[in-house]
């Protein structure tokens, strides 16, 4: 019965618009996020804490780059690829960006079909998202291999400031880990959708709670966040 009380978000209390509504929600007893389920609120709060982690990485990168007297390696040249006999700047990173954006698009559509209870399309779109994510991680592995072969190490590189390597491996490594975890998360939930767990409200083996299609949206929140972080990494690390 406690479960119903926690997840029942159907009744949404009407509040005045704007700041008065926010103050009314926060000063009321028990729950601040009235019609938001605990699962979604908790995922958002986790993502907020993850935002601070990535902010710290990007800030330490900024500090290292601004305070060094040695010139910073030019990312446009470092990440260039020779295709045919033309050297195209940053092309691999651009392709990785488009792949991650496409995965976000398929994920958004999976959430939509999930709420329409279209089991097959939801699972298929989630697996497509996972495939895009796996491709992204594969290309990142290729990029790492290329840079390590060229002599980039966390303590130095052939082109300039030694902090370049440590910043690169830390930031892209942590992001790649997030993508990998996201792929596993997607496959796990896609399997449940495919099996029809959320149509029969089958209880989870770990939590023994009933599952709902909302978990597709929560998985989607995590996945879009991974894409969001890449937007910032692309702008600050690769383009700046």
């Amino acid at each position: 019965m406690a479960e119903t009380a926690l997840t029942n978000t159907a009744t949404s209390i009407t509040r005045p618009a704007g700041w008065r509504g926010i103050a009314a929600d926060w000063s009321s007893d028990q729950r601040a996020f009235k019609n938001v389920s605990w699962g979604k609120a908790m995922m958002w709060i986790f993502l907020l804490s993850d935002t601070f982690i990535f902010s710290c990485f990007l800030l330490s990168y900024m500090t290292a780059r601004m305070s060094t007297t040695v010139p910073w390696p030019n990312p446009s040249e470092v990440f260039a690829l020779t295709i045919g006999d033309r050297k195209i700047p940053l092309i691999l990173i651009a392709i990785m960006t488009f792949i991650l954006i496409s995965s976000s698009g398929t994920m958004a559509m999976a959430v939509n079909f999930g709420y329409r209870r279209d089991r097959t399309k939801t699972a298929a779109l989630m697996l497509a998202t996972a495939a895009f994510g796996a491709t992204f991680v594969g290309m990142q592995a290729f990029e790492w291999t290329k840079l390590i072969m060229e002599g980039v190490r966390p303590w130095g590189n052939p082109w300039g400031a030694p902090q370049f390597g440590s910043s690169f491996f830390m930031i892209t490594g942590f992001h790649g880990t997030h993508v990998t975890i996201g792929v596993i998360f997607l496959i796990a939930i896609a399997r449940k959708v495919w099996r029809g767990d959320f149509d029969v409200e089958r209880r989870g083996f770990f939590t023994s709670r009933r599952g709902y299609y909302e978990i597709v949206e929560i998985t989607g929140l995590y996945w879009h966040f991974v894409d969001l972080v890449w937007v910032f990494i692309f702008a600050f690390f690769y383009l700046w």
Binding site: G21, F52, M107, Y115, V200, E201, R203, G220, L228, L239
Partner: protein, 133 residues
């Protein structure tokens, strides 16, 4: 243990009724976030356009103040589209939206602190650790 098993077994008939109800209602009414697929496709298209623009900033080697301004502009637009539409923040309750979106803005204070700090470190390095000429 046995109690739980009995509990689950007792629920079996109602589970089946639930399936039929769910399947019947699924076609007519859906819960949660519902927006036309076209909206997602339009946003997807815009994200492609904006990413291409930010890539072209590097491809054409734009320099000076224009470069960081363009990079930041495209970055903020992309982030805004993802958070507002893909993550449905535009339709969430305001109490949640402000609780999640305001704290990251405070990171800008941290950015300002570290800009001063790294300027200072850079100055010290230039003054005291410059290679003798």
């Amino acid at each position: 243990m046995t109690n739980a098993a009995v509990h689950v077994e007792g629920q079996q008939p109602s589970l089946h009724i639930h399936v039929h109800e769910a399947l019947a209602s699924g076609a007519t009414q859906a819960k949660g976030q519902q927006h036309p697929i076209k909206l997602y496709l339009v946003v997807w298209g815009w994200l492609f356009v904006l990413s291409t623009c930010s890539y072209l900033v590097d491809y054409f080697g734009i320099h000076g103040y224009l470069r960081p301004s363009l990079i930041l502009l495209f970055m903020v637009l992309k982030a805004g589209l993802i958070v507002a539409v893909f993550m449905h923040m535009a339709w969430e309750r305001l109490a949640l939206a402000y609780a999640i979106l305001l704290p990251p803005v405070l990171v800008l204070v941290f950015v300002a602190i570290m800009v001063f700090e790294s300027d200072y470190t850079h100055l010290l390095r230039v003054l005291f650790f410059a290679p003798p000429t």
